[in-house]
Every structure is written in C-alpha cells, then in structure tokens.
C-alpha cells in the first residue's frame, strides 16, 4: 500500500526552509504597517484607525478567486468566500442529500440518479447523458462516453469524476444502514466513508413505492423510490449501476438488485 501512494506521486510533507525576497507579498502587511506607523504621529491616527486602514489596504489588493471549476467569482474576504461557497456551491439533492456545486449539475444528478424516466429512455437507446459543460449541448448514450467527451473535447483530466467510484462490502453497508441518522445537510454526518454504491444496492431497504416504470427497464440502476432525508452528502460519490457494468474494476464484488 505504501508503494501505491508513492506511485500516485503524493507530495509528502517535507520540511523546507522558506526564504522570501524583500519585495515579496509575504512581507506586504509588515511594510504597510511600517508606513502607517510612521505617518501616525503626523496625522494623529489612533491605533484603531491604523488597524482599519491596514485591513482596508490589504483586502483591496487581495481578492480571492473561487476555486470551483467554472466559477468566475472573486471575493473580498475569506468570510465572503465562505458565504459565497455556501450560497452557490452547495446545491443539495432533496432525494439523497448529496451536494453539488451548481444547480445545473444538481439537476443533471437528479435526472441520472433518481429519475426512472431517465433510465427508461437510456434503456431505449436515447442519448441522455448531457455534457457537463454549460453551453456544449451534446448528449451521450452512457456515462463513459460522456466522460470520454469531457476529456477529449473539454480537456477535463481523466481523474475528473462526476460520479466517484468506490464500493462497500455488504457488511459495511448494513452496518452503516443501522447507524444512519436522517439528515438533509451533509455537513453533520460523520459516518461516511463512501456510501456510493449503497444507494443502488440498498433498494431492498428503501421505503416507499417501487415505481412501476423501474420494472420496465433492463438496467437495474434505479433506486426509483423517493426517500427524503435518508442520505447525507456524498453526492459526488454515487455511481449508477450502469457505470458499474461498464467499468471492469470492483463491480464484481457488489451484488446488484435484480428486479
């Protein structure tokens, strides 16, 4: 396992001395302080005024770019950034409580993960998997093809996964099942290792109706019942059954529910 990490090229913590040139932004706040203090006496500022000025000067020059793919926002402060992130990038699925960075991606998720009509159309051969990039408009027959498109056309890295793939053993899933507390927001949850394949696999344990339509599909992806508040936010780790089939790794260990 240790080898595995090294192969992945994880940049381990290595203590290094850090030296900065005198005009480095690292020293900017000290430089500003120097000048403000020097002028303090002449202009009769109080210490509070100096502090305020210092903060204004610094934050004006240092805007924070939101690091989420495709978001153009530049925020004035860390607090603003946190507010922005919560407001814009935590669109949460009311079905499975998973969280997405934009409402568009959320709605794509809902279609692909919770909509039996979607699965029905997929089964009938329609191109249902939309390209994730706004404005592109292309659609694909399956998850993998879309992924290939994202990589080829939009230069997404191959590691970029809309649906992250990990498997849990049945034992683990059952344990988590019992321990799970219903919640809507994903922050509170502590359980989660990766509850991914769970959604699909635990069909048997889901309450509610099984939509008639789901029995019509040949793909057994659909957790077609709606169960509110059961999940907590691993929206990004869900893998539809159709993906399991296509990717050779890992899928064999998970028993799939057959209708």
């Amino acid at each position: 396992m240790a080898m595995g990490m090294a192969e992945l090229g994880f940049p381990y913590w290595n203590p290094l001395r850090r030296r900065f040139p005198p005009d480095s932004p690292f020293f900017a706040s000290g430089n500003v302080e120097r000048e403000l203090l020097a002028k303090q006496v002449a202009l009769d500022f109080t210490e509070d005024e100096i502090n305020n000025l210092q903060i204004i000067v610094e934050t004006e020059s240092r805007r924070i770019s939101c690091p989420i793919v495709g978001c153009p926002e530049r925020l004035k402060s860390l607090d603003n950034f946190e507010d922005h992130y919560k407001a814009r990038h935590t669109a949460s699925c009311s079905v499975c409580s998973r969280v997405y960075p934009t409402s568009r991606l959320l709605s794509i998720h809902i279609s692909e993960a919770h909509d039996s009509f979607f699965q029905a159309k997929v089964a009938r051969g329609y191109d249902m998997y939309e390209c994730l990039v706004e404005g592109c408009g292309l659609k694909f027959k399956n998850y993998k093809a879309r992924h290939r498109h994202l990589v080829d056309k939009h230069k997404f890295p191959t590691t970029f996964e809309f649906f992250k793939r990990t498997q849990l053993s049945k034992k683990r899933r059952e344990k988590l099942q019992k321990q799970r507390v219903p919640k809507l927001k994903h922050e509170e949850d502590k359980e989660e290792a990766s509850s991914d394949a769970m959604e699909v696999e635990d069909k048997a344990s889901l309450d509610g109706l099984v939509s008639a339509l789901s029995t019509l599909t040949t793909s057994d992806t659909t957790p077609s019942n709606v169960s509110f508040g059961r999940r907590h936010g691993r929206g990004l780790t869900f893998v539809p059954r159709s993906v399991h089939r296509e990717k050779p790794t890992n899928s064999s260990s998970t028993p799939g529910p057959k209708t």
């Binding site: 994880f10 913590w13 203590p15 020097a38």
Partner: protein, 521 residues
C-alpha cells in the same frame, strides 16, 4: 519621520480647542478616505512638516494648522502665487535679494507642509522645480538651501510622476550631503533623496549612478542625532532592491558594519528602527553582508532588542532581520554563533514573545521564523517542541486569522517530519511529536485549511492529513480525520479547478477510506 524630537510644538493646548473639531473631521475623513489617498499613506515617502532645525516659533504656530480638503482650491491658488513670487525673487538683483528669496521659499514651503495633501501639482505646473534647483546652487546661504530642499522633499512625497519631477535637482541634493554642509541642510537633502528613492527602482538606480550612496552612508556614523535617523531611513529606501547591487555597494563602505552593529546595540529605538530596516535589506540581498553581520554577533543583538523592546516600529524590522538570517542555511548560521550563550533557546523564547503579541505582523513573521528553525535538525525540532511556544502555536492554529494560521501550520508540520535526505525517500514521521500535536487539538485547524480557497493552504492541510493517516499509531488516524469532518473537506475537491489537489484528495480518500474502511471494527 516628520515629527522627531520636537514634541513640544505638536500639541499646543492653545490651538487644540480650535483644532479639535477640525482634527476630528480630519481623522474621520482620513480613515474613510478614497483609495488614491490611502495609497499616499502607505507609500514609502514621508512629508516633512517640521524642519530639520526644529523650526522657529513663528513656524511652529502656523505649522500646526492642518487644512481640510475643501480648502484645497484656495491652497492651490496660494501656491501658484507663491511660485510667482519665488520666480521674481530669483530673477531680481541687488540689495536684500537673499532675504527676498528666503521669504518666498518659506511661503512656498509652508503651503507644501500644511495640508494633508499638499498642492504639489499646482506647484509643479507653476514651474517650481527649476526655481528650486537654482536655489540649491553652491555657495547659497544655509537658510536658502534648507528651505529649497524642504520644498523639494514634500514635492517628492507625492505621486510617482511628481517624485520624478525632482530629477533635475538630484545632483545638487547629492552634492549637499557632503561633510562640508551644515547638518540641517544635509539632513533635509537626505530626506528629499529618501523620498525619491522610495518611489521605485528606476529612480534608485539614478541616485546610485549619481553617487548618492557613499555620502549617505557616512551620515550614519555619528552616535546620535536626527540626521543619523533621517539618513538611515533614506539609506534603507535606497538599498531595498529588489536588485542587490545597492546592498553590495553599501557593505563595501569602510566601517559600515561596525556602525550598524553599534547602533543596534546601544542607540535609542528611533534610530535603531531605521538601522534595523537596513539590516533587513542587507540580510536579504547581500551574502557578504550577511556573513559579516553574523560574525559580528548580530543575532544576539537582535534577540536582545526583541526581548526588551515594546515598540512595534522597532520589532517589525528586527524580527524580519532575524527571519532572514535564519532562512539562510541554518547549519552555517550555527557555526558562527557565539558559543555558550544559549542563543538558540533565547531565539525561540523571544519568538514566543512575538507569538504572544497582539500584532498580526509579529505573530505571522515569528511563526515563519519558527517554521524555518523547525525545518532544521532534530535537536531544533525538539527545542521548539519543548518550549513555551508550543501551546501558543496550538492555540493560534485554531483562533488566528488565516495568514497567521498558515505559518503556524508550517511550524507544526515541520516539527513532525524529519527533513528528507535522499531524493525520493518519503520523509520520516516523528511520531512522538505528531501524537502530541494532534492530541493538542490541531487537526481541526488543518482541516480548515483544506477548505480554504488558497491553494497553498489547502495543499498543506492535505499533506498534514496524510501524515496523520499514515503516522498515528494503531491506525487511529482515519477515525480522527473522519471525526473532524476531514472526509467531507477532502471531497470538496471533486470540483476544484486545481488538478494536483484533486488527485491528492482523491488518493487519500481512496487509500484510507476505501472499501475496507471500518470493516474490522
């Protein structure tokens, strides 16, 4: 810089009742002042409000009437008039012409010193510079030289293009730095030069090529006096780089290192402050200066100043100098240290004092210095780990603003890892330190860093999480990370634009929270 020494003329009780309301308004305005004006406050230039020879009584009275912005147009009109007067005074001949010139200069100087934002542009447009240059000619009486240099000083304290307007005056200003000039004249010229040097690299290069450095350097040899202070400040502006040639030239001046060490040891805080800034730049830009200063025992002097002073003005450059010295190869540093003085421990204690300070800059830069020491030998790490700095660091990681937090993170992480020797070896974890630091409650702080939009901070957080996952005994790491919402934080990277971070986060989650997680409970 502006009001050194003569404290008496600053807050005269007679004027304060009138000045109070105005003063309040001024303060309010100053704080909410527009961006352009804020810029003037953080420039490395300084207005001269009180003359270098203390000013006479008449001056003192007028000086303290600081004007408010609405009166600007009036001020400008008066300035134009003053320049006209000066022009006629310069052109005239005959009896009393000296006095006329001084009077005209003085009037212009007052207009340029009173207001918070002096009418520099008006003066320039009216053609002040050529006149002022003429007034600097050799053989002119001291008073004339003084007033002229004073006007030039304040013109140079303005915007970049205003400072550049002084170019024609520079050779004469440099010339009057010589030892034959009277002290106030030399000081005022140094001040003007300091403002020009503070503008930018281009002007610094011009000054250097005109030979400004050696005479300025010699002005700091005396033990005390406002001249030493002004010259030291001007010198610090001149050598600040980022090119190193000025610093290299300075260190070649005979006796300069001794003068610097002498001032750091004994002098009053105001002079020591400006000298410390010189040391900041020398230690950043000149290897020769660095080793000469180290050999001369500067570390001990810096430590003493840090231990005994409460002046933020002084502490900032002293701390930064220390940081610059430490960031040079610490092994080399250690061999030069004077033996038997426990300097290393003293350094750590004095840095702890800075961590306790309420000032952000001190906390941040002290943490930076500690992080470099912690990147050294195992002995250094142990020294920090067992010092009074530890509880401070742990507390700061949870409570301090972001930029301080980041530096503290570097310290704590560096304490837990041996510096890697070989090229591809995975650096070894010092488990004892890791365990104690984690049980000190630092994990939450690191996970906060993972959530931050700052790439460097997020990277640090992920690297530390890896240490915890790998290095905590009995595989406790995973539980601990999970317990602090670490998995959640790592999954944020799914849609992060930075690929390296995405891969890092994914690989950690895959490896430590994969399908086998929690199975063997």
């Amino acid at each position: 810089m502006a009001d050194d020494g003569s404290a008496s003329n600053r807050r005269d009780p007679i004027k304060s009742s009138v000045g109070n309301v105005a003063g309040q308004r001024r303060r309010q305005q100053a704080v909410t002042v527009a961006k352009e004006r804020r810029e003037s406050l953080v420039r490395a230039k300084r207005l001269c409000r009180v003359g270098t020879n203390g000013g006479d009584d008449e001056d003192a009275f007028v000086e303290n009437e600081m004007m408010i912005d609405e009166e600007q147009p009036v001020l400008e009109a008066q300035t134009v008039k003053a320049v006209e007067e000066l022009k006629s005074a310069v052109q005239s001949q005959g009896k009393g012409v000296m006095q006329k010139r001084v009077t005209a200069l003085r009037e212009l100087r007052r207009l340029l010193s009173k207001s918070e934002f002096p009418p520099i542009d008006a003066a320039l447009s009216a053609g002040a510079i050529p006149l002022l240059v003429q007034c600097l000619s050799f053989g002119s009486p001291d008073e004339q030289l003084l007033e002229s240099a004073w006007c030039l000083t304040n013109i140079a304290a303005g915007k970049p293009e205003e400072t550049k307007a002084l170019l024609p005056a520079l050779p004469l200003l440099v010339a009057h730095l010589g030892e034959k000039s009277s002290a106030p004249v030399a000081e005022q010229c140094a001040w003007a030069i300091g403002n020009v040097a503070g503008e930018g690299e281009e002007l610094r290069n011009v000054l250097l090529s005109q030979g400004a450095l050696p005479p300025l350097a010699r002005m700091i040899f005396p033990d005390k006096g406002s001249t030493v202070r002004t010259a030291a400040w001007a010198l610090s502006n001149l050598i600040k780089g980022p090119e190193s040639k000025a610093a290299a030239q300075l260190v070649r001046v005979d006796g300069i290192v001794d003068a610097i060490l002498r001032h750091l040891k004994k002098t009053d805080e105001e002079i020591a402050t400006e000298i410390a800034w010189i040391v900041v730049y020398l230690s950043a830009l000149s290897d020769i200066a660095t080793s000469m200063l180290l050999k001369g025992g500067i570390l001990q002097l810096l430590v003493e100043r840090l231990a005994t002073s409460d002046s933020l003005q002084l502490l900032i450059p002293v701390l930064r100098s220390l940081g610059n010295f430490v960031s040079v190869d610490p092994k080399a540093m250690l061999t030069i240290l004077v033996g038997g003085q426990n300097t290393e421990e003293n350094i750590i204690n004095v840095l702890a004092k800075c961590l306790r300070s309420e000032h952000r800059v001190l906390k941040k830069e002290a943490a930076w210095v500690l992080s470099n020491i912690a990147a050294g030998s195992i002995e250094h790490k142990r020294m920090i780990h067992s010092s009074e700095a530890m509880p401070l660091l742990l507390r700061l990681l949870s409570t301090s603003p972001f930029d301080i937090k980041k530096e503290v993170a570097y310290v704590l992480g560096n304490l837990c890892v041996e510096s890697a020797e070989g090229g591809d070896a995975r650096p070894r974890i010092i488990q004892e330190h890791l365990v104690s630091i984690v049980s000190g409650g630092c994990l939450r702080g690191f996970i906060d860093l993972v959530r931050s939009p700052d790439i460097e901070a997020a990277r640090l957080g992920l690297q530390f999480i890896e240490l915890v996952l790998r290095g905590m005994p009995n595989g406790e790491g995973s539980k601990l990370v999970e317990g602090e919402d670490g998995i959640d934080a790592m999954e944020r990277f799914q849609f992060h634009e930075n690929e390296e971070l995405r891969v890092m986060a994914n690989s950690l989650v895959d490896k430590y929270f994969g399908e086998d997680y929690g199975i063997d409970e």
